[in-house]
């Protein structure tokens, strides 16, 4: 698993899914449509990604296409590095 995915996964598990095991959060688990990330959570994740990977994410990029799954997050971050 890439560094991006690992860090994003750890952040999500700690911040939003306390008590869930790592195995339960898969690379393709829907994050937005499942309700794990709401608008507050999405902004928190964006801030974390920006700080951790030193990138800038724009408002229109904070959507299901880019943050819908761990795979999408990895693709977004890599496209900006």
């Amino acid at each position: 698993m890439s560094d991006v995915k690992q860090k994003a996964k750890a952040f999500i598990l700690e911040k939003f899914l306390q008590g869930a095991s790592e195995d339960e959060l898969q690379d393709t688990t829907p994050l937005i449509t499942s309700g794990i990330l709401d608008s507050l959570g999405t902004v928190a994740l964006v801030e974390y990604l920006e700080e951790t990977f030193n990138i800038t994410i724009k408002a229109h990029e904070a959507d299901e296409d880019n943050l819908g799954t761990l795979n999408d997050i990895e693709r977004l971050v890599q496209s900006k590095q």
């Binding site: 999405t42 408002a59 904070a62």
Partner: protein, 859 residues
């Protein structure tokens, strides 16, 4: 061996194809059943039934086409729906306007330039919508054009700017003219990217079946809405304590089932064409917090606001920190929601609706969501990857949170649904100590929920229990449920079935089939004619939609030169000698202020004179003067008298709009007795008590003298003071309603008898009234007790539907046929009661009253 290996995939392929075809056939069968339900229960409009049949045929063809042809076919089907509902000319206008807006969005100039052009075009359309510039197309186009473009064009431009999706003519036509939209001015705000991205992104039969399931769910919600609307709603004037206030609040919130049902129906239909959209509403009555409520109710609207406002603003304001940026961006989102609702109202109705209590509703909801968001920022709510297992603590905590949230939203909804803040405050004031407990309950419940949550953490820990994966119903289960439900609904809709069941079942089914307005809305609609009361509450979808079909503003009588304000209790009157065109007919007022032929003040010898007193229906609202039942009745009486008898009848029409009950007593004294009538026919209506209270409340508000001692006594007892808001006065008078109308009738009889006039009370039904209602019977009883001769015309329209006998869908005054039927019934009744009325037998029992009248019509 080789042959067998090759044969397996071929056989599997055929089996898959066969299963696929079978599933498509099952979905088509379910859809056919739903079309039957739509027909049997008259769901929405006749146009929607036609559209559903088009969707059924379209679905079968669409599902049989290769995948790449399906989107173009859907676009064609959507265009076909425009012509099906609007016809060729209006359909072409709608398409041309829509394609023009799409074309502007794609002009080969910078994005900002295109936005400027579109805003300028919208400005011209606004001027056309308000009538400053004449529009060459039908008024009917506006609500649908608005519904298709007012929000979706904003999303489309945003997505164009950020290149968030692919664009083509077929996709754009599919998106803006999408199939069910042509029937629904109120339409979910569907996102362009989502619309495209999720097209056939999962197993097609699963998508179709979910669509059918949602359509069925939507229909059930719409039927439940009708039960609530006709059986549970309470008039604010009837709220007199905690129980009726809770009833009122609950019923107004439940009315939202209409919007949720419609949106399920609409999105469900889109899923049938492969657009795998998500739910528009999700168990919103079970929201466990205010943010949860905002996320569950009208999810598409929330997504729209988050995408276009919340994220852009929040990202811009991040330097303010979490608290500052959350507070500011949420305020802007809710202020935007308030404004955009008014903007939506403008395109649907043609005028902006900005009210203070409306703003207050959004402000309070914004405040609650902000507090809740900040709380969640500090104490994030538990989330899970699946459905978490319950324990006693969790269940109790969730129940408290849900009940607390539900109570607050109900109270807030009751505020939003009230006619004014003063009216709502008065309703709250009637609840006494029970009201205090009601308002204290939500914070107590939310505090208890927090305590239970902490106990849960102590007892169970932060682990949320075993993860249980969410399960979707299988294709077979879902299809079975929908088919069984639809068959039951179709069967129940037939009298053979519901009459065989308990008596309540028949009442429930007939209510579920009732597409009309409830009593309160009907009264609002009627008052709209008199008082220009067009500010229909946004929550009132039934009235709002009816108004959206009125094809623009229709002139009120008080906006014409034929009406003048008297500045006293009577309010206004028809202006003598004026002749105008009103509601498609000439309106000529004689020298005495009557819409009638001219009469001498002194009664000629040999004349039996009847003074007809009543409101707009008697005046012939929306009808030609020669069609008015009073004129036909007069002709029939005279036609039945042989010339040798030396007696002639005169029936003087004193019908005055907005004038029922007490106002008529003043008119009787002031105008009528001077004509020395032998009998006075007072044409009472179901609204007599309501109008009497209304007239008193109006006089109190305006500080006008009320010339009746008994009214002053009642006002004192009700605690009414000069200058009080009209709706508050009406609420305070509600307990005295029956007493007021009894005394009003008593005044009329006493005054008539003083002048030697025979008082006759005639019940005049509205054109959409069927049977005899309890309230009409009660009025008849009061009239009889007061000393009137009572004549009911309740069965006059028997055998005819409202659409055949009323002026228009939004106007239940009788049309020419309605007036004829009234005249026939009145004539028959008067002949039967002539000894009481005339004091002797003047008229032969008619060979056939109807025949007499029809012969005259023929002449």
């Amino acid at each position: 061996m080789t042959e067998r290996v090759d044969a397996i995939p071929v056989a599997a392929g055929w089996r898959e194809t066969a299963v696929g075809l079978a599933k498509t056939a099952v979905v088509a069968g379910e859809l056919a059943l739903l079309v039957l339900v739509i027909w049997r229960y008259a769901i929405e409009s006749e146009a929607f039934l036609q559209l559903s049949m088009l969707a059924l045929g379209g679905f079968v063809v669409h599902a049989s086409l290769p995948r790449t042809w399906r989107m173009p076919f859907f676009a064609l089907l959507s265009v076909a729906s425009v012509f099906l509902v609007f016809g060729l000319v209006s359909g072409l206008w709608l398409l041309a306007l829509g394609l023009g807006l799409i074309a502007l969005s794609h002009l080969p100039i910078p994005w900002a330039g295109r936005v400027v052009l579109i805003v300028a075009t919208a400005g011209v359309l606004v001027l056309m919508r308000i009538g400053r510039i004449a529009a060459p197309w039908s008024e009917a186009i506006w609500p649908i054009l608005g519904s298709m473009f007012m929000f979706r064009l904003i999303i489309y431009l945003y997505d164009l700017k950020h290149e968030k999706s692919s664009f083509s003519l077929v996709r754009s036509v599919s998106y803006f003219f999408m199939l069910p939209n042509i029937c629904f001015p109120l339409f979910p705000v569907i996102d362009y990217t989502r619309f495209n991205k999720h097209h056939y992104d999962a197993d097609e039969h699963e998508i179709y079946q979910r669509g059918i399931h949602w359509m069925f769910r939507g229909i059930v919600q719409l039927l439940l809405y009708r039960l609530v609307y006709h059986r549970l709603t309470v008039d604010p004037a009837e709220v007199v304590g905690i129980a009726s206030f809770i009833h009122y609040s609950l019923a107004t919130f439940l009315l939202y089932l209409r919007v949720s049902g419609l949106f399920h129906l609409i999105v469900g239909m889109l899923l049938l064409f492969g657009f795998n959209l998500h739910e528009t509403h999700h168990l919103y009555y079970l929201s466990s917090s205010f943010t949860d409520f905002w996320r569950r109710i009208n999810i598409y609207w929330k997504d729209f606001m988050v995408k276009l406002f919340y994220y852009p603003i929040r990202f811009q304001l991040r330097r303010l920190g979490d608290v500052g940026s959350i507070v500011l961006s949420t305020i802007i989102v809710f202020a935007g929601t308030w404004f955009l609702h008014a903007y939506q109202w403008f395109w649907l109705r043609g005028d902006m609706l900005l009210e203070w209590h409306d703003a207050l509703f959004w402000a309070i909801l914004a405040g609650l969501v902000i507090v809740n968001s900040l709380y969640e920022l500090r104490y994030p709510p538990p989330r899970s990857l699946g459905r978490t297992a319950w324990n006693g603590w969790r269940f109790a905590a969730t129940a408290c949170r849900t009940l607390g949230t539900f109570t607050v939203i109900c109270l807030l909804w009751s505020l939003w649904s009230s006619d004014s803040l003063a009216q709502w405050l008065h309703m709250v004031a009637t609840t006494g100590s029970g009201g205090l407990a009601l308002f204290a309950a939500p914070p107590a419940l939310l505090w208890l929920a927090r305590w239970l949550r902490l106990r849960e953490q102590q007892a169970v820990g932060t682990r949320k229990g075993t993860i249980v994966q969410k399960r979707q119903p299988s294709f077979r289960t879902s299809a079975g449920t929908v088919a069984a439900g639809a068959v039951i609904l179709v069967a129940l809709s037939h009298p053979t079935f519901y009459q065989a069941g308990p008596s309540n079942l028949g009442m429930l089914v007939q209510t579920a089939q009732n597409t009309g307005l409830n009593t309160r809305d009907q009264a609002l609609l009627d008052r709209g004619y008199y008082e220009h009361l067009l500010a229909v509450n946004r929550q009132n979808s039934a009235l709002r939609e009816l108004f959206s079909r009125t094809r623009g503003h229709r002139e009120m009588i008080n906006e014409t030169p034929a009406w003048r304000d008297r500045g006293d209790f009577v309010g206004g009157e028809l202006v003598p000698g004026v002749e105008i065109q009103f509601r498609d007919h000439p309106l000529k007022i004689n020298r005495w202020g009557m819409r009638d032929q001219d009469y001498e003040l002194d009664k000629p010898p040999g004349v039996f004179r009847i003074a007809a007193l009543g409101a707009s229906a008697l005046m012939g609202w929306g009808a030609a003067v020669e069609d008015i039942f009073e004129a036909r009745f007069e002709s029939a009486l005279n036609a039945a008298m042989p010339p040798s008898a030396g007696i002639r009848f005169e029936v003087l029409n004193f019908g005055t709009p907005s004038s029922l009950g007490l106002r008529q007593v003043v008119l009787l004294q002031e105008k009528v007795v001077g004509f020395h009538p032998d009998a006075v026919f007072y044409f009472g209506q179901k609204q007599d008590p309501k109008y009497t209270m209304d007239n008193i409340a109006y006089a109190v508000l305006k500080g006008r003298e009320i010339p009746f001692a008994f009214v002053h006594q009642i006002l004192d007892r009700a605690g009414v003071e000069t200058g009080m808001a009209k709706d508050v006065v009406e609420q305070r008078l509600a307990p005295y309603r029956d007493e007021l109308i009894r005394k009003t009738y008593g005044e009329m009889v006493a005054m008539s008898q003083t002048h030697g006039i025979t008082p006759v009370w005639v019940y005049l039904p509205w054109a959409n009234e069927t049977g005899i209602s309890e309230s009409a019977l009660a009025l008849g009883r009061y009239a009889q007790e007061a000393g009137f001769i009572v004549i009911p015309l309740s069965g006059a329209y028997e055998g005819y539907g409202p659409h055949e006998v009323q002026v228009a869908e939004w106007d239940r005054h009788p049309n020419a046929l309605g007036h004829r039927l009234l005249a026939e019934t009145l004539y028959r009744e008067v002949v039967d009661r002539q000894e009481e009325i005339f004091g002797r037998m003047l008229l032969d029992r008619p060979r056939n009253a109807a025949l007499t009248l029809k012969e005259r019509n023929h002449e």
